[in-house]
Structures are given as C-alpha cells and as structure tokens.
Subunit: 365 residues, 4 copies
C-alpha cells in the first residue's frame, strides 16, 4: 500500500535519480517532473526573466540571478502538478548548504502551505571536479576545485559562451526595441534576423552573446544563510539585456523616479536571491517596478564583441531627453542666472556649516 | 588701478583664454592657475580617486565619476591659491548648463564662502565636432554631433583607450593588492612590472587598461539641474579598479555590512556627481565608508583583454570565506536540520499571507 | 490698456492686499482668488490629506505637513482659474525665505509651465508679535518673537486647540474605521456622533482633538533652502489620524511590505515638504503607497485626553494577526525546534565574524 | 558526577525556578545569575540605552525597544560569567515563540560561539491574566487576555506610570543638557533637582515621566519570526529622552546628514529588535551614528504633563540655526532672486515631464 504520492523535481542527474529510487523503496508513488520535457521556457522568460530585466536585477552588484529566478518557476509548476494529482509530498535534490533548498521550499510554503517536503538523505559525495546547474538563462559552476577562491577556473569550463580569445573578430550589431521596459523585438542589421516573441528574443540574445563570449563572471557571493561561496556564471543574453535596458530606462525615465526605482530594484534582487519571489513584499515591489516602466519604450543600438556589450545609440518617442534644451550651442529656454541662484541656495547650508566650523576653530584658539 | 585679483582655472583652451583676456581688459589682475603645471596628480589619486574606489562610486549604474571627482580637487587648490595670494575672485570656464559650474562653485562656497565668482560671458559658439574634458582618471566627450543620442560615436573619438578591435590578442594578467579598501600594489606577472605608490598604481592601470581598450561607455545621464545629456567616457584604470575592489570587498566584508555600505556608496556617488564633495553629508558618508573598509585587504588576480576585465581569483588574510564550511563535500559545522527550521520560520509570514488570501477568495465566493 | 490678467491667491491679509493694490496700479487686471470662498475643503481632505494619512506622512519625525499639503491644493485651483480665464500671470504673497514660495511656484511650473509669476516687492516689515497660517488641517506660527528658538511660546498662542491644562477631565472615546488606508467612518461611543464623509470625518476629528488639546508641537525644522527655522504647529485631527492609521496599518500589513512602504513614506514626506507634490516621482510614490493600502481595513478604538491619543484596541477582517499562532498558551502550528534552526542559521555569519576576530587577535600576539 | 555547569539567567519567577530545579535534577551544576543582584543598571544605561537615544531608536514607528536593548546587556554578562566559571552551558527562560529567545541566543553565539544552550521543556501553562517583563527602561505586558487585540488593557495594568487621569494637575519643567548626543545633565527648575550620572539622569526621568503618566503605548508589532503580536509598553524616561534628543539633534545637525542618519537609525532599530546588537553590521551602524552625534550638544527645555512631553525651547553653542539668516524681518545675506533661480532649475525636470505628457495626449488625439 502506497504511503502517498511525491512529485519529484527530476533533473536526470545522479542525485535526483538516487532520490527517485529511494522514494519508491520507501513505498511512495513518485511523479517525476522533468523540467525539460514539461516545456516551461516561454513562461520562464515572460513571467520571470522579464520582471528581472525591468528591475535591472543584480545581486551584490554582479550576479544576474539566473538560478534564483528559475527556482520559483520550477517550484510553481511542481506545486500545480501536486495539486492536480492530489500529491501530498514534493521533493527536490537541492542540498542543505545552498540557496536552492530555501528558494524551493519557500515557494512551496507560499503556494501550497499544506504540502510536505521530503528531506532525502542524499549521500554527500565529492563531485569531481565541479558541479553545474544550467537553465535557459545561465549556467552556474561551483564546488569541487572551484571551492578554493584563489584557483582559476579552467579554460574549458564554459559551455554556453565561447572563449573571447576564440570568438569572432568582427562584432554583431543589434537593435533591441523595448515597450513597458521589456524587449519586444531584436534585430541584427547584418543578417536581417529578427525575433519578436519573448522566447525568440531571449534565445537569440543567448546565441549572439554566447558566440561573442559575453556574460562570464567569477565571484564570491553571500548566500542567504550567511556563508560566502564562490560561483562562476555565464549569462550571455541576460548580460546584453541588462545593458540595453539600463540605457533605454535612463533615457526615458525621470531622474528622481529612477532613483527611487533603483532602490526598489536592489530590494527586488535580494528578495529573489533569498527565495522570496512569492511573498507579499516581492509582489509589492514587482508591482511598483512594473508601474515605473510605463514609459520605458524605444530602441537601443548596440554591438557585441569579444565579451563586451557596447551601447551605440538610442531613440524613443517617450524620451525626456531634450536635445535643444541640453545643447551647448543653443541658449534654449534656459537662463544661466537661474543656475547661479540654484547654486547659491544649495550653498546656504554649506556656508552655515563653514561658519560654524570657523566659530569652533576660533573658540579652540 | 586694479579692480582686484582673480584666480582663473586655466586649461589652455579657447574658452579660458578668452576669459583671461577679457578679465585683463576689465582691469583685473589675473593669476592663471594651470592644473597641469601645478602637479595635483598624486593628491588627486590619494585624496579623491581612492575614496571613490572604496565607495565603488558609480552614478546611475554606469558612470565612474571621472570629472566629478576632479572638480573639487581643482577648486580646492584654486581656493588655496586665492587665499594665499589675497585674491577676492575666482573664475572658471564651465558653462551654465552643465554640472561643472555647480561643482566648482559649490566647492568654492564651501571652502571660501567670502570669495566672489565671476560669471564670464563666454560666447556660446558651436564647437565642431564635439568637446572633451581630460584628466588623469578619464576623458569625457559630449556636445556637437554627440548631442543626437541616436548617432554613433566616431571610431577615432577615443584618445585614452585603444579600439578593442585593434588591441592585443593576448591578455595581461595583473595582481592587485588592497589594504583598507585601496590598492597598495599592482604587479604584472608577465613582465614583472610592479607599482606601489598611488600615482604609480593608477597610472599603470591606465596604461594596461588603455592598451586593451577597457572602460568605454556611451550613456545618457541625468544632470543635477534636471536635464538628460549624452556623454561618452573612457576610464581605463578606474574600470579595472572598480572590478577588483568589488571582488575583494565582497570577499572580506560581512554581508549585512556590505548591504548598508552599498546604500552609502550610492549616496556618495550622487553627492559627488552633484558637486557636494565638500559638504557635511559627504564628509559623514566618506567617514562611514572608510570605516567599512578596515578589513578590505587581500589580493585579486585578474586578466585584461579586448575591453574586458576578468576576475580570476582572490585571497585574503581577513576573508570571511570559509572553505570548509561552504564545501559541498564536507559536512563541516553545519546541520541541515537547521536550514529546515530556518526556512519554516521564514515561511510563517508567507503561510499567514496565503491563509488570508484563501479567506478572501472564500469570502468572495 | 491692461498689461494682462493676474490670478492672485488672496488671503485677505495685509500682504496680499498690498499686492492687489500694487498690481492694479501697475496696470494689470486682477482676479483675486479667495481660498475660503472657493470652497476647496472637501477636495483638500480627499485629494491631499488622505494620501498623507496613507503615507503616515511626517517630516523630520515630527511635522505633519499641514501647510505643505495645502499649497498644491491651492495652486492647482489657481492654475485652473488662470487657464479658464485666460490669465497669463499668477501671483501669491509667499516671501522669499520660506518653503511656500517654492511649493507654490513648483506647482505652477508643473501644471502650467507657460504661466508667468509675479515677484512682488512686498515690503519686509516686522510683524509683531508673530505670523500665522491657518487651514483646515493645522495652524502654523512662526517669525517675530518665535524666531528665538529658546523663547517659549506664549500660552495664548494656540487658536485651534485648547490648552491641555484647561481641557476636559474625561476622555472622548472614538472608533475610526478604515478602508484602503483612509478613514470611512468615525463615531463617538458616548454621544453617538457619527461622520462618514471625508470632510465630516476630518472636521469632527479636529473638533475632538481641539477640545482635548491634541497635536501641539514646537520644533526647529530644516527648510528646503537649507535654513533651520522654528515653527509651532497644532494639528488636532491629523495627529489622531496618524496614530489610528499607524495602528490599523501595522495590524493588517505584512511586515516586510511595511518596511518598504515606510521608506516610501519618508520619501513622500520630503517631496511634499519640498513642494514636489506634482512631480513624476511623487506621482510614482503615491501610486505605490496607495497600492500598499489595499488591505488596510478595519476599526481602531482610541481615547483622546489631555493632549494625548491612546490606542485601546483594533479589529479587522483582513488582519494578519493570528491569535492562535501567537498565543503563549497554545502550541499551535509552531515547532520550537524550528526557532533553534532559524537562530543557528542566523548565527552562521556571527560565528564566522567571531572566528576571524579571534584569528586577528591571535595574530597580533 | 556533574554533567557540567550551567549559567542560568534567573529572574526569580516561576519559569526560571522550574528550570533551575530541572537542571539540578538532571545532574548539572547551576550558577543562577540574578540580574537584579548583579547590578548592571549603570552599564545598561551607558552602553545600551544611550546608543539607542543617539539613534532615536524606535521599532515600527512606535516601540522604544525597552526589552530589546536589555537582552544583549544581560546575555553579555551571562557569557562573561560562563567564561570566568568555565561553564559550558547557558540557559534562559525565554519561550519559543518570542523575540527574546532569539536575542538571547544570537548574543551568546556572537560572544561565545562554543557555548551550548539548553532548551528546557518549560510546560506551557496559561498565565492568567497576562505576563510582564520589567527592567530599568520599561515594562512590557503581553499574553493572556491581552492576546485579543480588540480587548482594552485593564486600567490597573500599569506599574511604572501613573494613570494620566490621576496624575498631577501641574506640569514639571525640565532642562536636559546633551553632549555627543547623550544627556549629561537633567535639572528641574521648580525643585532644584539635578542629576549628572547616566543612571541618575535616566532614573530621574523615569520618576518624572512615571509621575505624569508618560510613555504608554498599546501596539501590534511584527516579531522577527514573522508573527504579529500585541504588546503594551510603558517607557517613561525613554519617551522624554526621545523627544528631547530629536529636538536637539535637529537643531544642531545638518539637514542632509540627518536624513542619512535617519535611515541608519531605522536600520539600527530593526537590528536591535531582531537580536543583532552584537553583529558586524550593528557595530558598523553604531559607529556611524555615534560619529553623527559629535555636534549634538545643547540644552532642551520641556514640560511633562498628563502623559505628554512638550518641547518649550532649546539652545546650543553648536547650532546651525541662524536667527538673522532665517528672520522674516531682516534681509540678511539672502537674495530673493536666488530662490527664483533655484525654483526654476528645480522645475526644469517638471516642465520637461509636462511637455512629454502634452505630446502624449496630443498623439492620442
């Protein structure tokens, strides 16, 4: 007689295969949920990567959150399956020291609080020479020989990006069009390629970025549980999009709105990294960020070459850029005297501060 | 009879030459203060660039503030000369639409409130094809044909960095050593070069970065006065240092201290961009940031190639990185059950939120 | 022949009367806009005070922004009249050292950029013994003898609130009901009074607060232009509402949403104080704050007595408060072991820090 | 044979008495550490309350953190005793649902990572009618009948403050002098009382505040573990000090420094509430806040009456308040034209925004 049904996020790797066998031996019915067969890629881009693009999401100034945004996507589907199949248990292969266990389990608690998780005693065996985790957005590499933060990553590590030394000697030039802060079209001037669906756009950017070796980083990061860990990531398409979005956003968004939104984006990144995609505060922050993107619209021209993304130009029907106002060659509707007044008022405080310091130093004498 | 003495920040260019003549015609004695002859470079690095490195200073996520940090350095010296020479006036060639007038004048008000500024009627003439401003840290290009945000920068614009397409086909590999969050040594493994003085280190990084085409950006930014403007910058040494400092900082600094310090760094960047280097709040923020750097110590290995900086590894006597603790291959002093408790407590709030939403949807039915 | 039409915000006081005469002498047609006759009170409460209540708006921890929220309300109407009457000029009596000139003029620039303002040479004459500014939300007192920050305010200064020493010896007990973070009903248990319109609610709270001497403060504040000034304010109804709203908000809002919203509220308060009610960033912040209030619903019971507001209790259909979960008398769905795990994980970082400090001190020996 | 030595934080109440007996029965040697006999009061004021005063520490806008600041003080001493006596265990009576277990245990992990805690199976018995926790700074009441957030607190609950209805009908007038942001003297004009030691000052403020019924609040707060709980607190001296410190701080601190410091104070409050007094980030924040207090010096005059604190005036040798500059009766060193320029520059952005919206609405037609 079955002890119940378990939905297992099954990767096909050694760990989750062990778990699968063990669960069956223990008397459970197991539904192995294969992320790659269950094609979640289109909704992964639209529902998870796009909000991250709007937020300029980046953890600790460097990491583009490729794994972090994938976890809630996978766990959401797993919970849907569990509910549909009447399964009381879910299981996964994430180990106890990392962020992924947290991201996975917090999502389950948020979306299906009654569900039970299975803590599976996966034997901790040395994995030579390192472990990797791949999804549409990135590949991450860690553990094994990479745990020594001083040792260099082997040259043949990367699977998603070409080594910049071996990448083409001529750039690709792209135009990316945005509306509401997300890309709606990418085109390549040279070969006439054009993509308009979220999945098409993102996949194409991965291809171009990968070809030119874009998006490799080697960092030490702070896990939610308070450990520092070393991770190596390659995020080709995401890196191009971050640069392009930064550009069109600054071009179209009011300066002070941008400043407030920047703070919300940092908060969003922390929440997503820590596994709180499905939380009241992350809902709230996503709503606010999405609101800020209403005018983030226009086209960015950029080139991709030898690991780098170079912004070349931008245009927008909604830009707050006013060429006549800013021009050094035209007076425009700008009176230089105003600047003097502006400066003198801003200096009121500085002069008072100076006055007081003068008094202090006089007193000391 | 002289109307008084003016200390003029004299660049040797057309604008300040006009001002010089005009001032003399008006009956002033003029002290032309030539920044390049008055060698401020060593103090520029130690007193202005180093604090920016500690702060990971970056304006609107992209601009490394090369002009912004130079203004207070120049104006400070100009005020010193004015005081020493008994001059009542200072003058500069910064035009009325930009940030530099503000930065210059705020510094003067802060350091020498009694001084008078001279608003010189420099004829606004089209400057074909663009204008540039160079200092040890960077060159900026703007105006003229660059005012159209869509038009691409000409390939021969850049003076400080090689075009990545023409840069060497082999990387340089550097080791940068930090103490208190500032570099104290840079060495090149290949050719044995080593520099230890602030000016020596920064100049060498400029050389290597320039040779490999590092640090070019093309952005639209928000000026303090509320206009958007397009600027193109090349900051070779500063770009290398930002990446290296980010790495050693995250390696050695507590996660939560880093988060607070990150906010202070953003504040610092805004203040410096807006001209408030000499202000009570910038003094305060610099003090706090400096305090945060006490353990930011160690060595970063990196390669520089085709416009990119690649971090290769790092080591530190003060790192909070604990290889045994984080290892996936060793249990270490870490109980996986703790993570489950940690997650369940973090989920208390999420489950309550879910419960309330369930009530709400039930009620709606 | 007329030089044009001016819409003057006319208070009936000496200053604006002088301006009125002067404008006519100069050859302008003047439309004197009397805020008190043009009854703006209902929209002042609904469109300006209610958003401030949602934000828990408070400047520098103490000032409830009674004048700040009134300025954009008045200026908005003034601009409407100017547009309707085809007037090219607007004018006001706010003097040059204060915040009100800025608030007034920024609103005009934001809503009617083509309009011209008239800088009227109001003679600066000593106003014995102080000046005041009254609206439905508060009265402010400043200048004259109050400019000495050490001198105590005279006992007979206050017009809107009773001296607490003379106020009733028995409290009034009120129940305030909120929906979407704004009050929708107030009732007095004792005498059966009940109000449900925004204006009715706010006026009644003013009456009760005034009767019991609630909402007096004597502060030094920082004006936008960088001066410190001393102001005395009485805000009876607003003070009651701040306390009541804080209570129902904390009762119904998720902890982490609240933390983010708190930061937005501080930002909102600065913007409103500085005159940026009508700005892209204030629009954005108001939108976000309003979003946060969707579940801020329920009733707060409080008593008002001798200058104080005492919260007595609260209830809500949307509260996240879970009496069973929190109870010390019931185990509920809470496993104490989880707390131990939670603590140990939170301590990982602290123990690593301690370890490193131990190493440091060992090394020093 | 003993199983080892336990240092128990012993309150003398039922719970810790049970724990004491149980530990001895289990075969441990017990050192009962009585906080009230071990007089920690002077260091509690100087080392824990004073930093909270400097920070204007307040949790969720209302709670003055009376319990939160006491826990690290007690745990620090307990750890000192354990180290001195060679005890391997510490124990306490804090239950599993609250903040105090966390605060206690995090402090131990931070200061004595090798120590073991004892999770004692205290029987959870209904405690009629409520529980309380008292220290020099405050008394908190919770649980039992108070767990219903709607029910009013009984009138005879409070032990530290008089009921305002029964408090004196005449105020006490105090002068509090600050240096470096902490009080160095309090004096009562009427009866000539004067105190100068930290403990003397704080105790006297408790006496006066208690006599006049100052500092009672009834709130729902968010515990670290994500539950909402209802607490009632009375903090007489702390409430007076918060008001006085806010006043002298705003009087003497630069506006922009204050704004940054306000954010740090909010962070400090969260950290202390959550039990992270001894953490790298709290050390850092305390350092920064302390730095901000260097000029917070001067005297505040206030009256205490019927539950309220009224600021009457203030003076300081280090104030940035400039009576002549701010005066409406004197022109001073202030040119009204500067304000116009200041406003116009601030409006550049607003006008651009308006222009774009006009374009948008035109386009829509």
């Amino acid at each position: 007689m079955s002890k119940g049904t378990v939905v297992l996020a099954y990767s096909g790797g050694l760990d989750t295969s062990c778990i699968l066998v063990w669960l069956k031996e223990q008397g459970y019915d197991v539904i192995a949920f294969l992320v790659f067969i269950e094609d979640l890629r289109a909704e992964f881009v639209a529902d998870f990567i796009w909000p991250a693009v709007q937020a300029n999401a980046i953890y600790e100034d460097r990491y583009l959150l490729g794994t972090s945004v994938a976890r809630p996507c996978i766990a959401r589907r797993q919970v849907e399956i569990a509910r549909k199949e009447g399964a009381n248990f879910v299981s996964h292969g994430a180990t106890g020291k990392g962020n992924d266990q947290i991201r996975f389990e917090l999502t389950c608690y948020a979306l299906y609080p009654e569900v039970k998780k299975h803590g599976i005693p996966v034997p901790v065996t040395p994995r030579a020479p390192w472990s990797m985790d791949a999804n549409l957005m990135h590949i991450s590499y860690e553990s094994g020989i990479l745990e020594n933060p001083k040792s260099h990553a082997p040259a043949d590590l990367y699977l998603m990006t070409k080594n910049p030394e071996d990448s083409p000697n001529a750039p690709d030039v792209l135009e990316i069009e945005f509306r509401n802060g997300v890309p709606i079209r990418v085109s390549n001037e040279k070969d006439g390629t054009s993509e308009e669906s979220p999945l098409g756009i993102f996949s194409y950017l991965n291809t171009v970025g990968g070809k030119h070796g874009v998006g490799r980083i080697d960092i030490v990061e702070n896990r939610f549980i308070g450990m520092k860990s070393r991770g190596i990531y390659e995020t080709p398409g995401g890196t191009i999009l971050l640069q392009a979005h930064l550009d069109i956003e600054t071009f179209t968004m009011d300066k002070e709105v941008r400043r407030i939104k920047q703070g919300l984006g940092i908060k969003f990144s922390e929440l997503v990294y820590n596994g709180f995609w499905y939380s009241p505060e992350c809902d709230f922050v996503r709503h606010c960020i999405s609101k800020s993107q209403e005018n983030v619209e226009g086209k960015v021209m950029l080139s991709v070459f030898k690991g780098q993304v170079y912004i070349l130009g931008r245009e927008s029907p909604k830009s707050l850029y006013n060429e006549e106002l800013v021009s050094m060659d035209v007076q425009g509707d700008y009176d230089p005297c105003d600047a003097s007044g502006f400066i003198r008022i801003n200096a009121v405080r500085l002069r008072e501060h100076h006055r007081l310091q003068g008094l202090a130093s006089t007193t000391k004498k």
